[in-house]
């Protein structure tokens, strides 16, 4: 263990005064966010009509609770809370990386048309493949018959959108501004196509299509949750491995090349993975806007634009925000549950305006 000490010592000596404190502050912010998210998660599991106390929730999570608590916590509340955390992380991470790669603070899966592509795919499955119909349960007025078919079709829609965005990204002469404008155009194209599908659909199908687009973290079962968590985890590792490349890109494209960054490759794979994890989340949960903008932006404010710290912080921030939005949506008008997609847009839109007013800089 002596060599570890020596290593730490030599590392410390080679750092300028104040640098350790500076980085430790950033780490502290991230840890604080994690702790806050944990508290919020317990509160969120707790919140609801079943009347569990925090203590009972904790006991149940540790496997010591009563059977009926176990049912509620493990089958309903916990998957929902974890889905909110994981989806928030994925969307925020994707936004963070897209904003860096496209050098534009307004880039996200929502503004680049990927979410709208998914909605179109879902609508298509509901209309043509009969994947949706109404039914009546105590929980929801609308049931989607084969959720996997809808999710798969939504995923294909998102991929179609993503391919166009990637094709634009691969061209050198397309500026970042043009890319975001292209994404907006793509988004409205898919929205229009969805409207046309709705026009020809029966009312029950329209209900299912509209219902699908309300992003809802309560849709995830353990299996979907696992899939989202694995893809997000892998993407995070890849992004984190590239953290210095993203920092170099912040210094300008030529500077990055001069520092040995293979710019095209970093861009293409970054966009690919960021779009992919957004597509996975959106196709399981529906459209959840603005987390990809708000999460990274608040993190930049708190932590700065160093991706060593920004990536983890944006991820945790996204999870925290989406969970907070969902918990808010569940409790504010209880027992009515507001779709989380509406809540996030509600809090995201003012921030979007604020960004524009501030004369944005990343």
């Amino acid at each position: 263990m002596k060599w570890v000490k020596n290593l730490m010592k030599s590392r410390k000596e080679s750092l300028p005064a104040g640098y350790r404190e500076y980085t430790q502050r950033k780490v502290a912010v991230i840890i604080l966010l994690v702790v806050l998210s944990c508290f919020l998660a317990v509160y969120a599991i707790n919140a609801g009509s079943a009347g569990l106390s925090s203590r009972e929730v904790l006991l149940t999570l540790l496997g010591k609770g009563e059977e009926r608590w176990r049912m509620i916590v493990w089958n309903i509340r916990l998957p929902r809370v974890l889905a909110a955390l994981v989806a928030g992380m994925a969307l925020s991470l994707a936004g963070c990386v897209m904003q860096n790669i496209l050098r534009n603070p307004l880039a996200s899966s929502f503004t680049l048309g990927i979410s709208q592509g998914a909605a179109f795919g879902a609508a298509l499955a509901i209309l043509l493949l009969g994947a949706g119909s109404t039914g009546s349960t105590a929980a929801d007025a609308v049931i989607i018959n084969s959720p996997y078919l809808v999710s798969f079709s939504a995923f294909l829609g998102a991929m179609a959108s993503m391919t166009v965005v990637l094709a634009l990204a691969a061209r050198r002469d397309v500026s970042p501004e043009a890319m975001v404008l292209g994404g907006v155009a793509l988004g409205s194209l898919f929205s229009a196509a969805t409207v046309i599908l709705q026009y020809f659909a029966q009312d029950v199908q329209v209900a299912a299509m509209v219902f699908w687009t309300f992003g809802d973290v309560g849709r995830a079962s353990w299996r979907e949750l696992t899939l989202m968590a694995v893809t997000t985890g892998v993407a995070f590792l890849y992004f984190f491995f590239n953290r210095w490349n993203y920092n170099a890109l912040d210094g300008g494209e030529e500077t990055a090349r001069g520092l040995g960054v293979e710019v095209e490759k970093v861009r293409l794979f970054g966009m690919l993975l960021a779009s992919f994890i957004s597509a996975v989340v959106v196709s399981f949960l529906g459209i959840i806007g603005f987390i990809g903008l708000v999460g990274p932006h608040i993190s930049r404010r708190l932590i700065g634009s160093d991706h060593r710290f920004l990536l983890p912080s944006a991820a945790v921030m996204g999870g925290f925000l989406l969970l907070a939005a969902d918990t808010f949506g569940r409790t504010v008008m209880a027992p009515v549950v507001l779709p989380v997609g509406a809540v996030t847009s509600f809090m995201g839109a003012p921030l979007f305006l604020y960004l524009l007013l501030r004369g944005y800089r990343r």
């Binding site: 080679s14 210095w244 210094g251 520092l259």
Partner: protein, 263 residues
């Protein structure tokens, strides 16, 4: 000889830029690339560390053709300072640490932080380590990006217009530093520069580029009024202020009056 450029050609889709450019640069040498706007100077510089890929020809660092290497391997040997600098919200120390990126594997080592600190020391920027890039003056920023390129521990340093945004004092300071670095670290420094007088003062050898071809190549002896006039397309005189040659443009109709300046 550390850098050898072997007849490179480069064209943009619309027009050819470089044709048959060849030259060599030695270790410890301050080498200036001169020419009028649009002559292809910056393009040439970017071909030397494969930011751009020439259509034909080769560039050797030591014995190896850079186009057989990966971008990262090139960056371990060639440092580059772009003409324009972005100012992300980042500390000076982090910006300089970024120079270690070509040498890094998964994370920083103490060798990386040490190299960054030494680069800061060399440029007398230690007190700036915790300042943010967006709070620096143009001269300070220029020194920081120079420090980053030095932390890269290159054998060849490419600078694109390092003095274009600087005031007189900073111009002199930066170029003095660059020359010192070339000598002390025994690395080749290749500078694209507009200011002929600064070039004459600090560079050891010169390359005059005209319409994408090498017009003249050599030491001070090639910096004649005839050559400079031909390259820049206007009559000039070279007068001597003490030991320092100075290029003075002559307007048409103006009677040439060589000033015998000096003491």
């Amino acid at each position: 000889m550390i850098l050898k450029v072997n007849g490179i050609e480069f064209s943009y889709p619309s027009r050819p830029v470089l044709q048959g450019v060849r030259f060599q640069v030695n270790r410890g040498e301050f080498f200036a690339i001169l020419g009028n706007n649009g002559a292809g100077k910056s393009t040439l510089l970017k071909c030397l560390n494969r930011i751009l890929k020439p259509t034909s020809g080769a560039v050797y660092i030591g014995e190896r053709d850079i186009f057989s290497l990966r971008q990262r391997e090139v960056a371990r040997q060639v440092g580059y300072v772009a003409q324009r600098q972005e100012r992300p919200r980042m500390t000076v120390f982090d910006a300089v640490l970024l120079g270690r990126r070509p040498h890094m594997k998964w994370s920083l080592t103490s060798a990386d932080t040490r190299a960054a600190r030494q680069a800061l020391q060399l440029l007398e920027l230690e007190d700036y380590a915790m300042r943010f890039l967006d709070e620096l003056s143009g001269g300070e920023l220029q020194k920081v990006v120079l420090a980053r390129a030095i932390a890269q521990e290159p054998e060849v340093l490419l600078l694109d217009e390092p003095t274009s945004n600087l005031d007189l004092k900073n111009q002199v300071e930066v170029l003095q530093l660059v020359r010192r670095i070339a000598r002390e670290k025994n690395i080749a420094v290749i500078v694209v520069i507009h200011d002929l007088n600064l070039a004459l003062r600090y560079a050891d050898r010169f390359l005059l580029l005209k319409d994408g071809t090498v017009f003249a190549l050599g030491g001070r002896e090639i910096m004649t009024p005839a050559n400079i006039s031909a390259v820049y397309g206007l009559p000039v005189e070279v007068v001597w202020l003490g030991k320092q040659p100075v290029v003075v443009p002559v307007e048409e109709g103006e009677k040439s009056a060589p000033v015998a300046a000096g003491r």
